[in-house]
C-alpha cells in the first residue's frame, strides 16, 4: 500500500492520503479525471473495476468516494473528492473510463444533486423528474406535501441532459434525445411477467431487432439508505433481508462484518461457521429459484416445481432455526440471533443426500434439451472486458471468465480455510450463466459437507454493548451475495446511528448492462438474457 501511495504522490503532488481500512486518496476535482485515468491505465495500478461510487453530504461540502479494485493485482483504493458549492455542485464525470459510472453518477445526482460534467446521460435514476429536493442530503425536507403520493401519471421526457465544459472553463447544459427521430419504441414493463419484478424497458426496435434499451428504474425504490440514517446500527440490519430477499443471510453477513470491523468485535467461531453455512444454503436455494423461474420464462414451467422442491426443503431447515421462511433477521452484530435447531445437522445431511440427484435431474430435463440450447447458446454474449467495465459480478461475471468471487478475492469469515472452487466459464452467453449457477450449487454443497460435521461448540454470539456506538470514521465491506459482490459503506460520526449507510447492490450493474448485451439481438432474446442475468429489482432500487 505504501508503494501505491508513493507512486501517486510522485505524480499528483496535490493528493493527500488517509489510511482507513483501504488507502484513501483525497484529490481536488480538477485532478480527479487525470488521477482516475492514471489509476486505470498505468500497468502498476491497473484499477479496472469501479466497485461503487458513494455520494456523500458532509454538510459543509458535498462529494463522492470512489472505490476501485484491480482485478490483476487485487489491490484496492478509494478516491475522495468534494465540492463546497451546495447550490450548484459539479464534479467531473468518470463515465468515459468505466461504463458503469454513467449509472452510478446518475444515482448520486438523484440523491445529492451533484452534476457530473461530461456524463452523457444526466437524468435522475429512481425518482421522477418533478421530484423536489435531493433525498439523501442532510437538509432534505421530508414533508410529504412537497412530493405527494399521486395517482396521476408522472411526467416523462424523451430527452436527457449532458453538461459539457467549453475550453474557456464554462459549463453548458445540452439537451440530447434518448431515441432517434424514427425509432420505433416499445414499452416493456413495469407490469410484465418477464421483467422479474417492476422494471421497465423502453425498447427501440428495428423490426424484431433491438436497437437500444432505456432501463427505467425506481418502481420499487424504497429509500432504505435514508431510513437507515435514523435507526441504530442493530435496527438497520433488518432492511438487508428485504433488498435481495434470496441473499438475506449474505447481506446480513456483510453489514454485520462491516459494523463488527468498525466496532472491533469478533464473532465467535461457532457463529462464523453458522453464518457461512446459512450463506451457502441461501445460495443453493437462490440458484434453485433462478433455475425455476428462468426455465419458466423460456416456457418450461415444470422446472419450477422440480426446483422449488429443493428450495422448500432448505426453507424448512431455515425456518426451524431462524423462525421464518423469508426475512430471517438471523445474523446479528457479534454473531447470530439464536442457536441452531437440534435437527439442523440431520436436515442438512438429508438435503445433501438428495441434492446431487436433483441437479442431475435438472440437467437431464433442461440443460441438454435442444430447444433450451438453441435459445441460450450464443445469446447475449458479454465479454470479460465489458463485464469488468460494467461491474457485472457474481455468476454472471464469472460466466464471462472474470474470477470475481469475493469469497476468493477478498476472503472473509472462515472462507480461506474452506476447500471449494471458483466456477468460471469462458463463453459469456446465457447458457454459461445458467451452467455457472448449477456448478455453484455443487460447490456450495461441498462447503456444507466440510462444515456439517465440524460445527464447533461454544457461544453463538459475542458480548456486544447494549448501546452500540461506532468510532468516527468510515468502513467498506464486500461480501459475495447470491448474485454478485455486495458492498456496504458506513460513515460514522461517533453516535449510535450511521451518518451514512450506502448499499452497493450487485443487481444494479446487472440491469445496467441489459442495454449493452441485448442490442442487436431479437426481442424474444430479451427474455432469455434478462432471465439469465437474474436481477432482483428491489435490490437494485433499494
Amino acid at each position: 500500500m505504501a508503494n501505491l501511495q508513493e507512486k501517486i504522490a510522485a505524480k499528483f503532488p496535490q493528493a493527500t492520503f488517509e489510511e482507513a481500512d483501504i488507502l484513501q486518496v483525497n484529490i481536488p476535482d480538477a485532478q480527479l479525471h487525470d488521477l482516475a485515468k492514471t489509476l486505470r491505465d498505468d500497468e502498476d495500478f491497473a484499477f479496472d473495476y469501479l466497485v461503487t461510487i458513494v455520494g456523500m453530504d458532509w454538510t459543509d461540502s458535498l462529494g463522492c468516494v470512489y472505490y476501485l479494485t484491480s482485478t490483476r493485482h487485487s489491490h484496492h483504493i478509494s478516491i475522495k473528492t468534494s465540492t463546497t458549492d451546495r447550490d450548484n455542485p459539479m464534479l467531473h464525470s468518470l463515465a468515459d473510463l468505466w461504463r458503469i459510472a454513467v449509472f452510478y453518477e446518475r444515482e448520486v445526482y438523484d440523491f445529492f444533486g451533484i452534476i457530473f460534467i461530461g456524463n452523457p446521460d444526466m437524468r435522475r435514476l429512481f425518482l421522477s423528474i418533478d421530484w423536489k429536493g435531493y433525498p439523501l442530503r442532510k437538509d432534505y425536507d421530508m414533508n410529504p406535501e412537497l412530493n405527494p403520493v399521486s395517482i396521476e401519471n408522472e411526467r416523462q421526457s424523451d430527452f436527457t441532459y449532458t453538461y459539457v465544459e467549453t475550453p474557456d472553463g464554462k459549463v453548458e447544459k445540452k439537451e440530447v434525445p434518448i431515441f432517434k427521430e424514427d425509432d420505433f419504441v416499445v414499452n416493456i414493463g413495469p407490469q410484465h411477467p418477464a421483467t422479474h419484478g417492476v422494471l421497465r424497458f423502453r425498447t427501440a426496435l428495428d423490426a424484431e431487432t433491438i436497437k437500444k434499451i432505456d432501463v427505467y428504474m425506481g418502481y420499487i425504490h424504497r429509500g432504505v439508505e435514508k431510513l437507515c440514517e435514523n435507526l441504530t446500527y442493530p435496527q438497520t440490519l433488518h432492511f438487508m433481508d428485504r433488498l435481495d430477499y434470496f441473499s438475506a443471510h449474505n447481506y446480513h453477513h456483510g453489514l454485520c462484518l462491516c459494523i463488527e470491523k468498525a466496532a472491533g468485535i469478533e464473532a465467535p467461531r461457532r457463529a462464523q461457521v453458522i453464518r457461512v453455512m446459512m450463506d451457502e444454503l441461501s445460495r443453493i436455494a437462490s440458484h434453485c429459484l433462478f433455475i425455476g423461474t428462468f426455465c419458466m420464462d423460456l416456457g418450461a414451467t415444470t422446472m419450477l416445481f422440480y426446483t422449488l422442491r429443493v428450495r422448500e426443503q432448505i426453507l424448512d431447515i431455515m425456518e426451524k432455526t431462524c423462525g421464518a421462511r423469508m426475512t430471517f433477521n438471523y445474523d446479528c452484530i457479534g454473531g447470530v440471533m439464536a442457536d441452531l435447531d437440534p435437527d439442523f445437522v440431520k436436515d442438512v445431511k438429508a438435503l445433501l443426500a438428495v441434492l446431487p440427484d436433483n441437479i442431475k435431474e435438472y440437467n437431464k430435463v433442461f440443460t441438454g434439451n435442444i430447444i433450451a440450447r438453441n435459445r441460450m447458446e450464443g445469446v447475449g454474449v458479454l465479454t470479460r472486458e465489458d463485464a469488468i467495465s460494467y461491474a457485472v459480478t457474481g455468476p454472471s461475471g464469472r460466466a464471462s471468465n472474470w474470477a470475481c468471487d469475493v469469497r476468493k478475492t477478498d476472503p472473509y469469515s472462515i472462507y480461506p480455510e474452506l476447500d471449494f472452487e471458483e466456477v468460471t466459464r469462458t463463453e459469456g452467453d446465457s447458457m454459461a450463466r445458467f451452467k455457472v449457477r448449477i456448478a455453484e450449487m455443487e460447490q456450495s454443497a461441498k462447503i456444507l459437507e466440510q462444515l456439517i460435521d465440524n460445527i464447533p461448540e461454544g457461544d453463538y454470539c459475542a458480548k456486544v454493548p447494549k448501546v452500540l456506538k461506532l468510532p468516527v470514521g468510515h468502513w467498506f465491506q464486500l461480501v459475495e451475495g447470491c448474485r454478485g459482490a455486495f458492498g456496504v459503506y458506513i460513515e460514522s460520526d461517533g453516535s449510535t446511528q450511521p451518518y451514512r449507510l450506502k448499499i452497493a447492490p450487485p443487481c444494479l450493474p446487472l440491469a445496467c448492462v441489459v442495454d449493452h448485451i441485448t442490442s442487436g439481438n431479437k426481442i424474444a432474446d430479451l427474455i432469455t438474457i434478462g432471465g439469465s442475468l437474474d436481477y432482483i429489482v428491489p435490490d437494485m432500487d433499494r
Binding site: F126, I151, G197, I220, K226, H238, L308
Partner: protein
C-alpha cells in the same frame, strides 16, 4: 389454526345478515347462488408482485402449497383476464399511477387483497420518502392479509376469505359490494378521466 376457528367468521356473518335484511326474489336469489358458486371457485389472480411478498406468492403456486386445489392457479399476466389482484409487495410513489391503472383495467367484478405489511400500511418502510402508506387510499381493498411476508397458509386463508365473500354477494341488484366500490372510486377519481 383449529378447524372451528377457521369456520368462525364473524365478519362474513355480519355481511350475510346485512344482505339478507333487504330480502330477495327467489328466482334471482337462486341464479345468484349458481353464479357465485362458479365465481367463487375460480378466482383468477393477476400476477402482480413488486417485492418480497411476491416470492411467497410464487411458493403458493408451486407443488407444496398448490393453489390449484382451490382453482386460483390461473395467474394471468394481463389485468383484463383476472378477477382479483393480490397486491404482494411495497407500492412506492412511482408505482402508484401504474398500480391504479392496473386496477382500473381489471374487468368487473373485481377484488383486491392487500397482502403483507407494506400493502396494508407501508410496513417497515412507512417512514420513507418514497413509499405509499398503504394501498387503501389508492384502491378499495377487500381482504387484508398481515405478515412480512405472510406465510403461504395465511395467503390461502386470505383468498378463501375472499371467495366466501364472493359467495354471499349479490351478483344481480340489491345491496352488494360493488356499490361501495363505486363510492370509493367517486371519492378517488383519476384526474382527466371521467367514466
Amino acid at each position: 389454526m383449529p378447524y372451528e376457528a377457521f369456520k368462525d367468521n364473524e365478519y362474513i356473518e355480519k355481511l350475510v345478515s346485512e344482505l339478507r335484511a333487504s330480502g330477495t326474489n327467489v328466482l334471482v336469489g337462486t341464479l345468484d347462488k349458481l353464479i357465485n358458486w362458479g365465481r367463487s371457485n375460480s378466482l383468477w389472480p393477476l400476477t402482480f408482485a413488486t417485492s418480497c411478498c411476491g416470492i411467497e406468492f410464487v411458493s403458493l403456486g408451486a407443488a407444496r402449497f398448490d393453489m390449484a386445489r382451490f382453482g386460483w392457479e390461473v395467474a394471468r399476466a394481463s389485468p383484463r383476464q383476472a378477477d382479483f389482484m393480490m397486491v404482494a409487495g411495497t407500492i412506492v410513489n412511482r408505482m402508484v399511477p401504474v398500480f391504479r391503472r392496473l386496477y382500473d383495467q381489471l374487468a368487473e367484478p373485481k377484488y383486491v387483497i392487500a397482502c403483507g405489511g407494506c400493502a396494508i400500511s407501508g410496513g417497515p418502510f412507512r417512514k420513507s420518502y418514497h413509499v405509499a402508506k398503504g394501498i387503501e387510499d389508492i384502491v378499495p381493498v377487500d381482504v387484508y392479509v398481515p405478515g412480512c411476508p405472510p406465510r403461504p397458509e395465511a395467503m390461502i386463508y386470505g383468498i378463501m376469505q375472499l371467495s366466501r365473500k364472493v359467495k354471499v354477494e349479490r351478483f344481480f341488484g340489491g345491496v352488494n359490494r360493488q356499490e361501495d366500490q363505486k363510492k370509493f372510486l367517486a371519492e378517488h377519481p383519476v384526474p382527466g378521466v371521467d367514466d
